[in-house]
Symmetry: C2
Amino acid sequence: MSKLVECVPNFSEGRRTEVIDAIVAEVRKVDGIKLLDAKSDPSHNRTVVTFVGEPQAAKRAAFNACAKAAELIDMEKHKGEHPRVGATDVIPFVPVSNVTMEECIQLADELGREIGEQLAIPVYLYEAAAKLPSRVKLPDVRKGEYEGLKTEIEKPERRPDYGPARMHPTAGATVVGARQFLIAYNINLNTSDVAIAKKIANCIREARGGYKYCRAMGIMLEDRNIAQVTINMVDYTGTPLHRVFETVKSEAARYGVSVVGSEIVGMLPLQALVDAADFYLQLEGFSRKQIFEENLG
Amino acid sequence: MSKLVECVPNFSEGRRTEVIDAIVAEVRKVDGIKLLDAKSDPSHNRTVVTFVGEPQAAKRAAFNACAKAAELIDMEKHKGEHPRVGATDVIPFVPVSNVTMEECIQLADELGREIGEQLAIPVYLYEAAAKLPSRVKLPDVRKGEYEGLKTEIEKPERRPDYGPARMHPTAGATVVGARQFLIAYNINLNTSDVAIAKKIANCIREARGGYKYCRAMGIMLEDRNIAQVTINMVDYTGTPLHRVFETVKSEAARYGVSVVGSEIVGMLPLQALVDAADFYLQLEGFSRKQIFEENLG
């Protein structure tokens, strides 16, 4: 079984298609890389590229795309609604298959060093790859954005983890890191009282004493006239889907409300579904190798 | 996504390794075929080969192996404990990925015709591919085994579906068909009273009014001193794992007994786990394409 990581670099260009194409081409041309998506937002003036591959190939693709972005994007001229500090704004690695979070942290560290030393771009390590607690959260690292960081980068608390303590003349700075796969997960209730969904969201979200890797809020689905608990599962290995689902069911019952269904928005890793089946069927000693399709690669 | 079928031909040779190797080599050398297993049993004098591939490649591999077996095995001299009618005794196709049961039935039909016409071996179609209700079950088709069928093959009710109504001089007859993936599934109870496991097995097995695609019995796990309901799920698309699991839990509760856990013995198709997660998480509109790994092929 090959080792696979996902990489989701964000570039500060969402309008000039020739620039976007040139950056994406750098990703495509690395052997063994599969490009999954490239989404540009003109008002954010930003492009999010998603690709997967073996760790070293993914690192090379990210480095080459970052070098191309430094060549074609000038942060002195960049405007867009989305917060950003550089031409290649952020590069997260996500473990997918047969890869640990530790390997992704190591990969982020290697890439950060290479971008810093070879491209002379200051690099900050964030999320699981952060070397300082103050750099775990992306908004903290990006505080002041490109313009603000430019004046503060020499301050001791803002010196980069790799590369020079001055902004690259065109590319600014880059944030590199490792994080878990984010699962967008919604649970629908058979009530039109959004207050109940909000109360349940407060039970499960970390900020209010709930699950550590759970961000949640209660909203109204106007078209179906039902309330929904809408959730970002930021680490399904630490807070699994089934636990959140069961807690929502139990808290809903306290209001005489029941769960109509749940939705996965976009993608999720196979392991998240296997974990749910494993829990509910109370499987003993189950291994992924027992899945027939896992033996075909 | 490529179409994949599993094929599990059984050959009437489990002792002479040079014959087994020559048959397996025919499977291996077909482009796009992945050999998963080849298990020989000397006392049964039989070898079970498991491989997967695209439907047409799987058909070619099965045909070539069948032709080689006809050349190297002489049923007039074959002895073994396991019931059999031919050198290539039985060839089932099993849908794996992006393939319907109908396509496997069609494939079995094509292969049956080719073996009958090109190799002059009488062919019977069984299970989902059967053309007669009396040929659905393999033991019915194999009644009398090689020796018995040899004298009865000209009788109207035993005439083959394809090929001549006389046994091939060395290869005998072959049974070709299509069936679902068989899942061996056990559910463990927190009681040492095997009578309870036997009663629960009777609730879920088809033969006693239970689920259509469920074969079950109650046994004792001596080493753990607990009773177990041991199950063959012969079509998980018709009788899903979770339904059997929930019924066993509910019937066990009637005796004040609870389920300790369940076990998948050997392999199961990914879809069986996805179906369980889908049921328990009450997923709305979930598609296999939302599994990240499904997009990497």
